[in-house]
């Protein structure tokens, strides 16, 4: 099987997504996230090249600038300020969850043909496999990690998966919508980052599994 360039890039993004699962070192996580998003921006640019769609170039540039650069930089600053370098412990050991992620990539390949409406559309199979695998990686990250910052990264990875799905399956949503989404994600990360400072200040940890004061 020969992969098209953008398909290879999408797979690369999926693999970086799985690598995020492989370490509990937060700064390494963010570096992988940054590479993962760069690959996704490259997919966008490559598809823009194929479809000659000028607005996709703009989206690719914005994705690269905001999601691969500004957000990891901001989160890195947050990590440095609160002085927590590693996730205090995952519910599933990091290497195990990485292998689980690889397994889910295989599963994504199997179910990518089962999406109703996309059946009989083999052109888009690799793209949707990669997107779904990224989605699964993000969900796995959110479910298995304790540190609040990993939850934010998990959310970002999920969002990337959805974005990649949109780009590979529909060649990008309207420009205004894409830009609005990017802005929204940026603001969400900023708000979550500010909350993180306060969590660290009042609880002296950022372990979300210990946030269980509120119940019926």
């Amino acid at each position: 099987m020969v992969l098209d360039t953008f398909e290879a890039l999408a797979m690369l993004a999926a693999i970086f997504g799985i690598l995020i699962l492989g370490t509990t070192h937060l700064r390494t996580n963010l570096s992988f996230y940054s590479l993962h998003t760069t690959a996704i921006a490259a997919v966008t640019a490559w598809i823009a090249n194929i479809t000659h769609d000028s607005h996709l170039y703009l989206v690719a540039a914005a994705v690269f600038a905001i999601k691969a650069w500004v957000i990891p930089y901001f989160l890195n600053t947050v990590i440095k300020k609160i002085g927590i370098g590693t996730d205090s412990g995952a519910f599933i050991a990091a290497p195990l969850s990485m292998h689980l992620g690889a397994l889910l990539l295989g599963l994504s390949y199997v179910i990518s043909l089962q999406i109703p409406g996309l059946i009989g559309d083999p052109d888009s199979r690799i793209g949707s496999t990669a997107a779904m695998s990224i989605l699964f990686s993000g969900v796995l990250l959110m479910l298995t990690r304790r540190a609040a910052i990993s939850q934010i990264v998990g959310f970002l990875v999920i969002e990337n998966g959805i974005y990649l799905f949109a780009v590979t399956q529909t060649h990008g949503m309207p420009l205004m919508v894409e830009m609005g989404l990017l802005l929204e994600v940026l603001v969400a990360v900023m708000v979550a980052g500010l909350l993180l400072f306060n969590i660290k200040k009042s609880f002296e940890h950022i372990d979300v599994s210990q946030l269980t004061e509120l119940k019926d």
Partner: protein, 479 residues
């Protein structure tokens, strides 16, 4: 385009001004301007109220009759809440735990951004914009939940932000599926424009559309608090200050449900009697049943009302599942009126008695008869007892569901509504009766009762004035 500016300029300007203005002035200014905003909204959108089908403002921004009703309701709720907030903060000052000026500035700025975001939700005629607006309501209301600045508020805010953002990410995936549905199997340009999607609904790729709808239902359903995705809701409602809880319950939940309604109307146009609607109705029933059982054992006064909101969300989802726009709006309207009154009254009582625990509250009737009376009336109103408006809505819903042949759902629903009625009245009875212990005089009970009294009166008038036939009969689907 000009109309759009009129609708949005005041909240936007107030959000900015309230960051700098003297707090004492902001507390008076914001209510006045928000009531003025209500008048402007009514003036700008009056063609829609008088029968114009829809008003187009710009590409992807339009409003129809349903949206107009909701926008008026939302602005009204926010106006009531900010008016009462002035009293709420004054009472906190009198009780000796005044809030810092910085917190209040942030509160008023967030309230206005929140109003702006909610106004935008109802103006969206594009699924992408709708998603952006609904996520913006989450982000702008997070500071409201964090208002108390303690550990509990922090935990509630974190859960609210993460659960809602991730939940709503699935709605984005659903939106992408619907976009793909408009691209595949049709000759038309791919679009996210809701009215175009409705017009060409028959041409869309139905399996993809259905998949998209289910993801949107899960996503917006998380934001609306459908069981079992409601986990953020009681925490956020219980930990935010009373005026903010009232806005979350009376305005924010409607926005998310409006999102579900919009997507449902696309699928309704594509295939009027699909199984998807059955799924929605079942989901609504499950939510009502779960909430009514959870209502039985509550220990916190505000969590009680939060679970009652979950129950009402279930009823509204049920109305959407029946495909009845008017009933959805009628239920939303009555729920908003009664629940805002309840949250504001509860806030007063909590401030005066100094506890949120249900087992430590009793004898409000001795301490303050007005509050006790209004609390009882509002509690009756929210449980759907006659002669209040919610009774009309719930009766029509049940009879519509019966006539559709969904009598099993209707029976389960009736039982669940009865359970929640008993549960709520038992809890409220304990709060009202018994021996009083606190002097509430310093809390200006009369001034604190104005807004709740207006709201309770509103839902009473609706209940007496509405004719059940009209709501379940011919006028059954508006888009």
């Amino acid at each position: 385009m000009n109309e759009l500016l009129y609708l949005m300029i005041l909240p936007a300007a107030l959000a900015l001004i309230s960051l700098f203005l003297e707090v004492k002035l902001t507390r008076k200014l914001v209510p006045i301007v928000t009531w003025w905003q209500l008048a402007i909204v009514a003036f700008v959108l009056h063609p829609c109220l008088q029968g114009t089908e829809r008003m187009q403002f710009a590409s992807g921004l339009a409003i129809d009759k349903m949206g107009t009703y909701f926008i008026l309701l939302t602005t009204f709720v926010v106006s009531c809440c900010v008016t009462h907030a002035d009293y709420f903060f004054a009472a906190a000052e009198a009780a000796g735990d005044a809030y810092a000026d910085r917190s209040l500035r942030l509160f008023y700025a967030s309230v206005n951004l929140f109003l702006l975001a909610m106004t935008t939700v109802f103006l969206c005629d594009n699924l992408g914009y709708l998603w952006i607006a609904i996520e913006a309501t989450t982000l702008s209301s997070a500071p409201l939940v964090y208002f108390e600045r303690n550990k509990f508020a922090l935990e509630a805010t974190w859960k609210y932000l993460i659960v809602c953002s991730v939940g709503i990410a699935f709605a984005l995936l659903g939106t992408v599926f619907i976009f793909a549905a408009s691209q595949r199997g049709t000759p038309m340009e791919p679009t996210l424009n809701i009215s175009e999607l409705i017009t060409h609904a028959q041409l869309l790729n139905f399996p993809l559309l259905r998949l998209g709808f289910i993801f949107c239902l899960i996503g917006y359903g998380t934001k609306a608090g459908i069981f079992p995705l409601h986990t953020w809701l009681p925490d956020a409602h219980a930990e935010s200050p009373a005026p903010a809880s009232a806005m979350l319950s009376g305005a924010l939940l409607n926005c998310a449900l409006f999102g579900i309604w919009k997507v449902a109307s696309i699928i309704n146009a594509a295939q009027p009697h699909s199984h998807v609607h059955q799924l929605v109705a079942v989901l609504g029933t499950v939510t009502v049943v779960a909430a009514s059982l959870l209502l039985l054992r509550q220990h916190n006064f505000k969590r009680l009302w939060a679970y009652s909101s979950v129950e009402n969300v279930g009823l509204m989802v049920f109305a959407i599942g029946l495909g009845s726009g008017p009933l959805f709006f009628l239920q939303a309207l009555n729920h908003s009126l009664a629940k805002v009154a309840l949250f504001l009254l509860t806030g007063n009582i909590i401030q005066a008695s100094g506890t949120k625990k249900l087992n430590k509250m009793h004898g409000v009737i001795e301490d303050c008869p007005i509050w006790a009376g209004l609390l009882a009336l509002a509690a009756f109103a929210v449980t759907g007892a006659p002669p209040f408006g919610a009774f009309v809505a719930e009766m029509s819903m049940l009879s519509l569901s019966m006539s559709d042949g969904r009598w099993i759902l209707a029976l389960i629903m009736t039982a669940a509504i009865a359970i929640s009625f008993v549960a709520i009245l038992a809890h409220v009875g304990k709060v009202i009766f018994g021996s009083g212990k606190q002097g509430f005089k310093s809390f200006q009970p009369a001034r604190a009762s104005i807004i709740p009294a207006i709201l309770v009166l509103g839902t009473l008038v609706l209940g007496v004035g509405l004719n059940t036939e009209v709501w379940s009969g011919s006028w059954s689907v508006i888009r």
